[in-house]
Point group: C2
Chain length 315, copies 2
């Protein structure tokens, strides 16, 4: 037996895969997350593990398991995940250990992503690298001096909270400034606000209240000037946030991941320009900004790497 | 023999001290830095070491030496220090090793400061702490997961380069936005600009062109409203910069050091308020913001700690 189980639990979908010691994904299953009860996603993970291990038992199929979650993981494996109802203090590691009978390691999605990039992606062979996950939210997984930074309370990498402009966001937003200005919902909101203000765009054919970042991206791809400008502005703001990270951490590579990485061609130039303009001038030209080639496999590979590192440990 | 030599070379003064393994400063000398040639500060350090070791030889007096410099230190001990004329690639570690005949370790001033705070100051017993040095410039020494962060090119902690507002600084400034807005020269500049714009202040009795941050602090202490407001605004901006650092690094304690730490009573409230308002809301209430109690001894103690760690190594 030379495989581990990797599980990437998101806010909307859950992927599980069997991965060998070389980082090869041998099989994979994905399902929409069952949010009907706090317990449902746990049972769903066990079910996916069953399908991937059959006809063997878990113990015969997997050396260990690594699980990524969209939230905060305490050292005990307890999870706080605001997007999963009832996951205030979910004892995920101990639940899964009991059900699977193998060693289980639980990690935040952004830390899993940087471990995955470090093992098989753009951070391979690097000591100092950061993955910026840009989607519904914004977060960063940080590798510094060859180690993943965790912070004192497992709260490092909250890059969505970076202050970069004078913009005022509503106190009720509950999110940080960079996320308020440049994540997916911010792009949709910018389009809606500017359409409501009477600006012209091919987007005005759509129902204004339901416009998404994907709609704006589709319009930008068809050369809609408003949509293009909205993405460029988001790129500039992301570039300021990345510049701050570079000035503090002097990284070798910044990797863009998450849902909006798929449309990075719409903002990568303005992002790079802004980063070069603002970051410490000795660090700035030394850092590469690239798009993840692993895509949504980064988390799974990171989980697998962590599972391998954890395989020798007690269950 | 149970002492090491610690040297703190600044842009204007140079301190040297004899320090024991418990962090006690047994004797200390300070001199204005001799900037007449690139070589002069090196000879000056050797002279201070002679005065502190006499009548013994260096080898009999000191187990090793630790030196802090105001610039970038490469792994080889070569120093780039923009404020010291001719220090582009000063091979300081090898020069001092040859002259003193003992092991020598060279470190940037901000890293020395966090090591000093970690050994004998406000970061004692902490795994995650940051010292913000606020004076003519702004820089940060970062401890994360029990280790000093260095970055890929020894350029970590360039906190003066943080982007935090929409402010436009002249491209010719050569410094970063936070430093442009909130370091000592920024406070003096703000006072000059507002006096020139006709605002009333007790500072108008002084020669406008030569007003310093210390003059503004003295006026604020005497309840001058303009001076008070300038320091409060600087505190808010420093708070935004510190919030960004907290959101990325999830520290336990932020320590204020450098020349402006001495007048922190003028801006600490607005700094704390801004930090709490902007940093990631789970991290923000957990981090303490304090003023260094070590003052200008932080660097010397950091150098001594590094020298002790280095004492067993080959010269």
């Amino acid at each position: 037996m030379s495989e581990v189980l990797a599980v990437d639990l998101g806010g909307t979908k859950c992927s599980a895969a069997v991965i060998n010691s070389k980082g090869r994904i041998l099989s994979r299953r994905t399902a929409a997350v069952d949010l009907t009860s706090p317990n449902a996603p746990v049972l769903q993970m066990i079910q996916l593990a069953k399908e991937l291990s059959a006809p063997r038992t878990f113990k015969r199929a997997f050396r260990s398991a690594g699980v990524a979650v969209p939230g905060l993981v305490r050292r005990t494996g307890t999870v706080w995940a605001p997007n999963l109802p009832g996951w205030d203090r979910m004892p995920l590691a101990s639940r899964l250990k009991r059900a699977l009978g193998i060693p289980v390691v639980v990690e935040s999605d952004r830390n899993a992503a940087i471990v995955g990039e470090s093992w098989r992606g753009a951070a391979r062979g690097k000591s100092d690298a950061i993955v910026f996950m840009i989607g519904t939210g914004i977060g960063a997984g940080i590798l510094s001096g060859g180690r993943v930074l965790r912070g004192a309370h497992e709260l490092s990498g909250c890059a969505g909270w970076l202050t970069i402009t004078d913009a005022k966001r509503p106190a009720s937003s509950g999110i940080g400034e960079l996320e308020w200005l440049a994540a997916g919902p911010a792009i949709a909101r910018a389009a809606r606000e500017r359409l409501e203000a009477g600006e012209k765009s091919s987007l005005s054919q759509l129902d204004c209240s339901s416009i998404t970042a994907h709609d704006v991206a589709a319009a930008a791809r068809k050369a809609d000037p408003l949509a293009i400008e909205i993405f460029r502005r988001a790129g500039t703001l992301l570039g300021y946030g990345i510049a701050n990270t570079v000035s503090l951490l002097d990284s070798q590579v910044i990797i863009l991941g998450g849902g909006l990485a798929a449309v990075s061609d719409l903002y990568l130039d303005s992002l790079r320009t802004a980063m070069l303009e603002r970051a410490q001038p000795l660090s700035a030209p030394k850092v590469k900004v690239v798009v993840s080639k692993l895509g949504d496999k980064a988390n799974l590979l990171g989980c697998a790497r962590l599972a391998w590192d954890h395989a020798g440990k007690r269950t």
